[in-house]
């Protein structure tokens, strides 16, 4: 057994401490150690974007980080965005615009979009398409997602 590492970090505003193997991927840590299964794993090689979380506010692939690397940092997952009764405006917009079908890739889109829309309150369609080009979706063909982002931008500007 390799040496365990004592990891302390903040996830969705709450502090956590765990003893973990250094090789444990951040995605697996969130899902299986903390039970936050909203972060999904689609490829484990950094292409699909389903596992995107925010690390200190920036979108990162949680499958391309060891959990130990999040030591002392802040992570935000889809569970930290909004609740069923109080959706984040981006979640609300995805609901209204039918921006999801199977919903597997959705958490990665949402987390990618949070900083994007904060920095670009009124993005063009082209900017939106580039912003989400690191997230693969096999169900929607992206059109309703693009519309959801436009709607979310509108909601967030208001």
């Amino acid at each position: 057994m390799t040496k365990l590492f004592k990891l302390s970090l903040t996830v969705n505003g709450n502090p956590y401490e765990r003893q973990i193997e250094p090789r444990l991927l951040l995605s697996d840590f969130l899902r299986h150690e903390l039970g936050m299964t909203g972060t999904h794993v689609g490829c484990e090689h950094g292409v699909c974007g389903a596992c995107t979380v925010l690390l200190n506010g920036d979108p990162v692939r949680s499958c391309l980080m060891f959990a130990v690397q999040a030591h002392g940092h802040e992570v935000l997952t889809v569970e930290g965005l909004g609740t069923i009764d109080d959706l984040h405006p981006i979640q609300q917009a995805f609901w209204e615009a039918h921006g999801l079908q199977c919903g597997f890739c959705t958490p990665g889109f949402l987390t990618t979009l949070v900083p994007f829309l904060e920095e670009n309150p009124d993005p063009s369609e082209e900017e939106i398409r580039v912003a989400i080009s690191g997230n693969l979706c096999r169900c929607t063909g992206y059109q309703h997602i693009v519309e959801a982002v436009q709607l979310a931008a509108e909601k967030m500007r208001a």
């Binding site: 999904h40 689609g42 580039v130 169900c139 059109q143």
Partner: protein, 783 residues
């Protein structure tokens, strides 16, 4: 027909859970004491297993057990045949060879599971896989379809004297005589290659045998939970009541998740019983490319016979179909191809000869489209060539051959995937074609826009392609509808759901009958403990078949409600109406009672229930169509190609659909958008590259290119027409696969149109910039 709930853009019941990360997917299941499984998979496409050394792996801390095929003893047996060949076809040959839980003696394709490791974590299980040494003797590999059928080809299955998996001939009329009468005969040969489904969620299974209660619970990413339950019970010698299969939220299906009895599905429950511990296996993306099924490779030799004014007299198609190393799914795909190769056209003389071929490649089962895109590609290409030869407009030629509206129901006289005669229920095709033509501005583009753009040095082309989609096939589905004392309505159906919005569209059907808000209808699907009759979600049948069952059950509940309410409200049933969760007397709205109160009354705690009546407001019903419902549509696109780089851009994308009654336009649009994105992938981005040794060269999402938001058209403009299906009460037809089906055909037509100065002739799909460059170079060299 006017509806209050059906046909409305209602946002989905299931979304809040999905949006907040609260929906359960298989990999989210966590049970104390759970063990993890990883597989050693074959590096060879075809090899004899000489020996397997697992000693070192066994010693690794955290490893619980290791199994080879031999270790399974008498419990090792191949999967069941899912679908037998159509018994009604004369002279059909079908050699059934099925996948095993673990390879025994020989591996048949790269990625086949050879050894299973059970360990305390997936990480350790993968470490142990690397400790295992397998000694293989490599064998000659069968990859190419045509070579596979040559007499000196190596054999995939040693006990057969050929690589023939199946042979079937279907016909209508007499092609030979049509040929004799023809003014024009065109012969072409087409190569269509393989693509992967790539659901964003890989497959996965958690099996939990509880020794004390003698009960097995399985969470499975399956599109067909009920057959999995029944088959698992049979394999393990359990009663069906002892097995519960749950297909929770699935991260997309697209066909391959309907394949029944993947090796891992056979193995995990067995391992759980063996160890009396919960077992989890989650497929990773690399495994997904090998261990999950894929589709579409065929080679067609086609001949079409026409009159000089463009009437198609007959079509003959002789094709090879790649079935991969095994053929558990029978002939579904090539049967679909045979049904679609004459498309929406009235062709009286058809000869279709299909040879399914074993190869040392992963197993082939349906992927969104399931043999239909191949048929559509072939017929549409042939019509494109015919139009060129005859000097006719592409669309005029097609219009001339469409099945007229008064010819329905129209019998193609071909057996379809349900082994029923392919009878097309209804349709009115010409207006759909005209609408697409108008929306894309076909005439104006050809006459004005294209010449102008060409003069500016731009290569811009148009494609317009009609297609049919067989949907909603049997055998049957069922549903149970129950009103709770809370006034909410529970619906249970056996099919699984993979993002199609069943939680909402089925709720709309129920709301229509019972007058409750759509958000008050709670659907459970894909849990055999809730409903255990049915087959599954595939073949664009969910809305048609399960939807019709839901309608039947809801209608039955409605009449129970009326009967009881009539008694309580002391008013005749005809005077009662459903409104907002209550039943009221039409002219006296204050005289009303809520559905919840009625439900409580129907389940009294004291007093006698009348003989012959049932407690509760609940009903179960079924729907089994004799024939499917055939949807129709047209796709049209305008693309611009950079003639130097071969990079493309979609300028316009139009679809016009006739899928009968639309349950929820929002969901319908989503289905079409998603289908088109897969179709675009199939046309220009996605291809599984197998080398001569049967190795897949692009088993990653970095190299297998599914389209991103960036490659898609900015707008897919959707037009609707509606011809209700007379074969089900909802009048609906499926649409799940429609988006994907005609895209390669339409795209290829548009490419040729853009490069018309080059006399480019495209006989294959998928293409790529590289391949297009090669074809254009070849064209230049030949000139």
């Amino acid at each position: 027909m006017t509806y209050k709930f059906i046909g409305k853009r209602i946002k989905r019941n299931e979304d809040p859970r999905l949006l907040t990360g609260q929906a359960l997917f298989v990999d989210d299941v966590d049970i104390p004491g759970m063990l993890h499984v990883a597989f050693l998979r074959s590096d060879y496409a075809h090899a004899r297993i000489l020996s397997i050394d697992i000693e070192e792996a066994r010693q690794r801390p955290g490893v619980v057990a290791i199994y080879t095929a031999e270790d399974m003893g008498d419990d090792w047996e191949p999967g069941p045949p899912l679908v037998s060949p159509p018994p009604t076809l004369e002279g059909v040959i079908f050699n059934s060879r099925r996948q095993a839980p673990l390879a025994k003696g020989k591996v048949f394709h790269a990625g086949e599971a050879v050894v299973a490791v059970v360990a305390e974590s997936r990480y350790i299980a993968e470490d142990a896989v690397e400790d295992i040494w397998v000694d293989y003797e490599s064998l000659p590999v069968v990859v190419d379809l045509e070579k596979a059928m040559e007499s000196d080809s190596p054999l995939v299955h040693d006990d057969l004297d050929t690589n023939l998996a199946a042979h079937m001939f279907q016909k209508k009329g007499d092609y030979e005589s049509a040929r004799e009468q023809a003014d024009l005969i065109i012969q072409k040969k087409f190569y269509l290659d393989r693509g992967a489904a790539v659901a964003m969620e890989n497959r996965g299974i958690v099996a939990h045998w509880d020794e004390k209660s003698q009960h097995m619970t399985i969470w499975d990413t399956t599109q067909a939970p009920i057959p999995i339950r029944n088959g698992t019970a049979a394999r393990l010698g359990l009663s069906e009541k002892q097995v519960r299969v749950i297909a929770p939220f699935l991260g997309g299906g697209f066909g391959p998740k309907a394949m029944m009895f993947y090796p891992e599905e056979m193995l995990l429950p067995w391992l759980s019983m063996k160890h009396c511990r919960p077992m989890k296996w989650i497929e990773d993306r690399r495994e997904n490319f090998y261990a999950t099924t894929s589709e579409r490779q065929q080679v067609h030799e086609v001949e079409i016979a026409l009159t000089k004014d463009g009437r198609v007299l007959g079509l003959s198609d002789d094709f090879l179909h790649d079935t991969g190393a095994f053929d558990p799914y029978g002939l579904t795909i090539p049967l679909n191809t045979q049904c679609h190769v004459t498309g929406p056209y009235d062709i009286q003389n058809i000869a279709s000869n299909c040879t399914a071929v074993f190869t040392n490649k992963p197993i082939v089962t349906p992927v969104r489209g399931a043999g239909r895109p191949q048929g559509v590609f072939v017929i549409e290409r042939m019509l494109d060539f015919a139009a060129k030869e005859l000097g006719m407009d592409l669309l005029e030629l097609r219009k001339k051959n469409l099945i007229p509206p008064d010819a329905f129901p129209y019998d193609k006289e071909i057996i379809d995937q349900a082994f029923a005669k392919f009878v097309m229920d209804s349709g009115n095709y010409l207006p759909v074609v005209e609408k697409a033509r108008e929306m894309i501005g076909y005439d104006q583009f050809i006459k004005e826009e294209q010449p102008r753009l060409r003069a500016e040095g731009k290569y811009v082309g148009i494609g317009i392609t009609p297609f049919i989609e067989t949907t909603g096939v049997g055998p049957y589905e069922g549903a149970r509808v129950q009103i709770e004392p809370t006034g909410k309505v529970n619906v249970a159906t056996g099919i699984g759901t993979q993002g199609q919005g069943h939680f909402t569209s089925f709720a709309q059907i129920v709301s229509e009958q019972l007058g409750v808000a759509v958000s008050d209808v709670n659907l459970v699907s894909g849990d055999t403990a809730q409903f255990h009759w049915g087959t599954g979600t595939f073949a664009s049948r969910g809305a048609v078949v399960a939807g019709s069952a839901v309608l039947a059950a809801a209608t039955a509940v409605r009449s129970k409600v009326l009967k009881l309410a009539s008694k309580v409200l002391e008013a005749p049933e005809e005077e009662l109406e459903f409104e907002n969760g209550t039943v009221r007397v039409a002219d006296i709205p204050r005289q009303s009672i809520s559905l919840g109160e009625l439900a409580a009354l129907a389940n009294p705690l004291r007093g006698a229930v009348e003989p012959g009546s049932e407690p509760g407001l609940e009903a179960t019903d079924y729907f089994g169509p004799a024939y499917g419902a055939t949807a129709f549509g047209v796709h049209a696109m305008i693309i611009e190609i950079d003639p130097e780089t071969m990079m493309i851009e979609f300028k316009r994308y139009i679809t016009v659909e006739d899928c009968g009654t639309v349950l929820n336009p929002l969901i319908l649009e989503g289905q079409i958008h998603g289908g088109v994105s897969m179709g675009i992938g199939n046309a220009y981005y996605e291809k599984m590259h197998f080398d001569e040794s049967g190795q897949l060269l692009n088993a990653s999402l970095a190299d297998y290119l599914i389209v991103t938001a960036h490659e898609m058209p900015n707008r897919i403009e959707i037009g609707h027409m509606e011809t209700r299906s007379p074969f089900n009460e909802l009048g609906t037809k499926g649409v799940g696969e429609a988006g994907a089906i005609p895209v390669p055909a339409c795209f290829t037509q548009a490419l040729e149109n853009a490069f018309q100065d080059f006399d480019l002739e495209i006989l294959e799909t998928p293409l790529s910039p590289n391949r297009l460059f090669e074809l254009l170079q070849r064209e230049e060299h030949e000139e």
